[in-house]
């Protein structure tokens, strides 16, 4: 066990391991690139949808059931399926990453919108604000803390899913895990797992701190988002 940890430490800090196309620096950059792009696309789809459902109150059934569906969908199966259907390219894997990130964004945006006090909305309307003004000047700012929570959870989910996507010849940090498993190289497997875990935890902590910094006066809200879940 001690020998294993020593080798793992050596693997993580060795200069040769960090450079080159199979180096940690490159794999880390790939991983972050996949994760950020997929989360941005998911936000472009999920945010308007969540805002619309929350503002109009129509389609709440969809928002709630989308969450359960996203929760139940097995990531590994979805990734393999889009790969078999779409062939060896990046696009199908991005489809899977986005599909698994959208529910967290929609449900938390919706939760944030429904947590806005109806009296506040009435007051805004009473002052003569139009529907879009109420949405963008009243509801959106008040729902923002939960919306950002949704984006953070989606990003963490995508980081995990991108790891699994390495199985279907995708790059990123998951490569070390799957190459290591194939080569029966436990040090490489553990090294990859440590890196992925560190990336996920650091991103989560950094974004939580940013959220707390941005919303210091509102930090103690009573509204809770959707219970977070994982599928990867």
């Amino acid at each position: 066990m001690y020998e294993l940890f020593k080798n793992l430490g050596a693997w993580l800090v060795s200069g040769s391991q960090w450079s080159g196309p199979d180096g940690i620096a490159h794999r880390l950059a790939e991983h972050l690139q996949y994760s950020l792009l997929a989360t941005l696309i998911a936000a472009a789809i999920g945010l308007p949808l969540g805002l619309l459902i929350g503002h109009t109150g129509k389609g709440a059934f969809l928002a709630i059931n989308l969450a359960s569906f996203g929760r139940a969908l097995p990531t590994v199966g979805l990734v393999v399926l889009v790969f078999l259907a779409g062939g060896l390219s990046m696009l199908p894997v991005y489809v899977a990453l986005v599909a698994l990130a959208v529910p967290a964004i929609v449900t938390n945006t919706y939760a944030g919108m429904t947590a806005v006090d109806p009296d506040v909305k009435d007051a805004a309307r009473g002052q003569g604000m139009r529907g879009h003004q109420v949405l963008f000047q009243v509801e959106l700012p008040l729902a923002l803390p939960l919306i950002l929570t949704g984006l953070r959870l989606a990003l963490i989910q995508v980081v995990a899913t991108a790891t699994i996507a390495a199985y279907v010849s995708f790059g990123g940090l998951g490569r070390y895990v799957f190459d290591g498993l194939a080569q029966r190289d436990l040090v490489q497997v553990l090294g990859g797992a440590v890196l992925v875990a560190v990336v996920a935890v650091v991103l989560d902590v950094a974004l939580s701190c940013l959220q707390r910094f941005l919303f210091l006066p509102h930090a103690r809200t009573n509204s809770h988002g959707d219970t977070p879940t994982r599928t990867a």
Binding site: A72, L73, P74, V76, L186, L190, A197, D204, T227, T231
Partner: protein
């Protein structure tokens, strides 16, 4: 992408045993998660200084991707079912802890004081007043943890377990979509059925909610 129906017909025995193995891993994890999270939730609810630590520490665990958790357990428990169950228990535990604390917080202070005034000791108040009133929120956590665990079991296919997840690696290696589709459908079915059964269980456990409705 076409489905090879004869493959399904030829493999009903395998599919049954994989489904049972899948369900066993998920349910064991939720059960263990419940066993560990209930006492932790009571501590987090009653001992304020520990609350932030317990919820914070469990949130960090929750952030770690499942494949990383499974792999990091390999030096401890190897390529076994134990690794799968420990990994899944970690995630269930976090969801259950969060919801149970929230459920206990939601019990009105007046009700607890009424119980105290009637002479109930803390343990009795907890078991006969607080837990039953917190039950809907706790059950919401159990439902989420169950569905999540059923979905997550398949990740363990990479460490040689994974129940229905084995259909995914099998289909990938042979470039054959049928087992993958069957695996996804069966996983979704398991999740839906388990969730429906838990809704029914909650209905049975909370008769007072029915009378009011």
């Amino acid at each position: 992408m076409t489905i090879d129906w004869s493959w399904i017909a030829d493999h009903t025995d395998d599919l049954t045993s994989l489904t049972l193995s899948h369900l066993q891993a998920a349910l064991t994890a939720v059960f263990l998660g419940l066993l560990i999270s209930l006492p932790l939730a009571v501590i987090a609810h009653r001992v304020r200084p520990l609350r932030g630590f317990l919820l914070g520490a469990s949130n960090v665990l929750f952030t770690i991707p499942s494949i990383a958790i499974f792999v990091l357990l390999l030096p401890v428990s190897g390529l076994t079912r134990t690794t799968t169950v420990i990994g899944l228990t970690v995630y269930s535990l976090v969801v259950l802890l969060r919801n149970t604390v929230e459920g206990l917080d939601s019990v009105p202070v007046r009700v607890k004081e009424a119980a105290k005034a009637m002479g109930a000791r803390p343990l009795r108040t907890l078991l006969t007043v607080e837990f039953p009133l917190a039950l809907p929120v706790i059950m919401a956590g159990v439902r989420i943890a169950t569905v999540m665990s059923i979905s997550l079991v398949s990740v363990a296919t990479y460490i040689g377990d994974g129940g229905l997840g084995q259909l995914f690696t099998d289909g990938f290696q042979r470039n054959f979509p049928t087992p993958v589709i069957v695996g996804v459908v069966l996983t979704l079915l398991l999740a839906v059925v388990a969730d429906a059964l838990l809704v029914a269980l909650q209905y049975v456990l909370t008769p007072w909610k029915r009378r009011r409705a």
